[in-house]
């Protein structure tokens, strides 16, 4: 039984940078090499499932960011909290260790992030397309370089 403040102190004790972002929200940023290790620590503290896996494309800095949102079902004091575990990788090396071995619930999110952004998760057994058709042309729709054709009805003038 730990509340969020205790959790933060405990994580800080293992020399990981943690920030309280707002009430009930905690943010952790790690190097991708340490991702799996930190996730195991978090799991042992009671955060038992992944809510979402988000991939973001920072085209100007040519890097991707991946955010895992973790929360807890079993620890009553942590159910109100969401912990964001962030890591980033460069365009040249779009690979991140998968958290599937730690959190099975990351399966869907990682698979979708792979198909939409082209980030490869090492260790996930199902790195295949999920939502898009098999003969989908072009690459990775959620990248900023993928532009959609806009109709001019509700859309403001191009800047």
């Amino acid at each position: 039984m730990t509340n969020l403040n205790d959790l933060m102190k405990e994580i800080q004790a293992s020399k990981i940078q943690v920030k309280m972002e707002s009430q009930n929200r905690l943010g952790i940023t790690v190097e991708k090499e340490k991702l799996r290790e930190v996730a195991s620590i978090l799991k042992s503290k009671g955060l038992d499932h992944v809510i979402s896996v988000t991939g973001m494309d920072y085209a100007e800095e040519s890097r991707f960011e991946v955010v895992y949102h973790l929360s807890s079902y079993s620890d009553k004091d942590l159910t109100s909290a969401i912990v964001a575990l962030r890591t980033s990788t460069k365009y040249e090396d779009p690979q991140i260790p998968s958290l599937y071995s730690v959190y099975e619930s990351a399966w869907t999110g990682e698979r979708e992030t792979y198909e939409m952004l082209g980030i490869f998760f090492e260790g996930n057994p199902d790195m295949r397309r999920m939502f898009l058709p098999e003969d989908f042309e072009g690459v990775y729709p959620l990248r900023k370089s993928f532009k959609i054709k806009l109709e001019g009805v509700f859309v403001d003038k191009p800047v």
């Binding site: 038992d48 979402s52 099975e104 619930s105």
Partner: protein
């Protein structure tokens, strides 16, 4: 007489046009009639809401994000607006909070009735299907009277709600509650106590508590496995912190428990509705910050005349500060999560939308392994899985 059963292995496609699959193809590997492996091929109704959100203003996104779950659009709407409110730091008046809860609970009942109806038709019980859709109509009519649209209501806006409730709607709701209470008894008697239905649902697709947590199951399916998690209690939003209700939890984790949880939840929702109608506070339904921007002539015509909000100019293309917000609500099918990143432009940098059915994909796939082929529809129906919601 003794019959030799020859084990046969093979693969089978269920769907995407199978009446029992919806917009989804389920690819099963069979050994005899035991499912050895199942592959859910989703994506037939994928509409790329996340990508489109990078090209729309925050307000233009409201009708878009509520499309994925047509029968649960109030919750979709609410979750998104809560994320936007966090990012622009807006307060919401008390009355609007209550009205949000009101609309959400009406929508929850409608969605559960739909789910039970679908469960009925999957098991060949067409009466339940007719009942589910007929009883749902009562609640959809209330939503129509309250918001002006049967589905995809776009009722909730940043800072409040769009329309006020009227005594006529309250009267309708009271009648609907009376009717549905009687109907729920019939549901129990004719559907859940029916030996055929029991045989198809009991001890079928059992998801243990540990597995439910590990697979990240959500909503009624999670609570049927014995995990008492509900966002309304654990991280209260709208008016739920001041309302008195219980979370039904079953420990069996089978198809029957999943159906009964939803039945009990409807009862609790009606309890919430009664409390809201009793304690609804007086006051404004839109935050003062936006209310002051509405021109007096329009205010007189719409707010004083029809109890409606006309959208103030601020909404046209506001630029929230840089930052990010995450919000979650308990939608009818479970926890709905939004993650919004703003880079200071009038359009979101990234909108991540995690719907309950999306999170059930993995649990569903795992749960099918080892069950009988004939039970596929029982598991599917009892999961209340809604393909468009998973695809977004």
């Amino acid at each position: 007489m003794e019959i030799d059963i020859v084990p046969v292995e093979g693969e089978l496609n269920v769907g995407p046009q199978h009446p029992g699959s919806g917009h989804m193809r389920i690819y099963v590997k069979l050994n005899g009639d035991i499912i050895e492996d199942a592959e859910l091929d989703v994506g037939y109704v994928h509409r790329a809401v996340e990508k489109l959100s990078e090209n729309r203003n925050y307000m233009h996104l409201i009708p878009l994000v509520e499309r994925p779950a047509i029968l649960d659009s109030i919750h979709m709407n609410l979750g998104y607006v809560m994320a936007v409110e966090k990012i622009i730091a807006t307060d919401v008046p008390e009355r609007a909070q209550y009205l949000r809860s009101f609309a959400a609970e009406v929508n929850r009942i409608a969605s559960h009735l739909y789910g039970l109806g679908i469960l009925g038709i999957f098991l060949g019980h067409s009466t339940a299907f007719m009942w589910g859709f007929g009883d749902r109509e009562v609640w959809v009519t209330i939503l129509e009277a309250l918001t002006g649209a049967r589905v995809t209501n776009s009722y909730i806006i940043p800072g409040g709600v769009r329309r006020d409730i009227s005594p006529a709607i309250m009267e309708m709701t009271k009648k609907a509650i009376d009717y549905t209470r009687r109907k729920l008894e019939d549901w129990r008697k004719i559907f859940f106590y029916n030996p055929t239905i029991r045989a198809r649902l009991e001890n079928v697709g059992v998801m243990t508590k540990e597995k439910a947590i590990e697979w990240g199951a959500v909503g009624p399916n999670l609570r049927a496995s014995g995990v008492p998690f509900d966002v309304r209690k654990d991280e209260p939003y709208a008016a739920y912190s001041s309302l008195d209700f219980e979370i039904p939890v079953y420990k069996e984790g089978d198809g029957l428990a999943r159906g009964l949880v939803r039945l009990d939840e409807m009862e609790q929702s009606m309890r919430i509705l009664e409390q809201i109608m009793k304690d609804l506070p007086e006051g404004n339904i839109l935050s003062d910050r936006f209310f002051k921007q509405i021109p007096p002539i329009r205010l007189k015509k719409y707010w004083e005349g029809q109890h409606r909000i006309v959208l103030p100019g601020y909404y046209a293309s506001f630029r929230p500060p840089k930052g990010e917000a995450s919000s979650r609500v308990e939608a009818a099918r479970g926890e709905l999560f939004y993650y919004l990143v703003s880079d200071g432009s009038p359009k979101p940098f990234r909108l991540r939308m995690i719907t309950p059915s999306y999170r059930m994909i993995y649990a569903f796939k795992q749960l099918l392994k080892g069950s009988r082929f004939a039970d596929l529809v029982s598991v599917y129906g009892s999961f209340d899985y809604f393909p468009p919601e998973a695809d977004r």
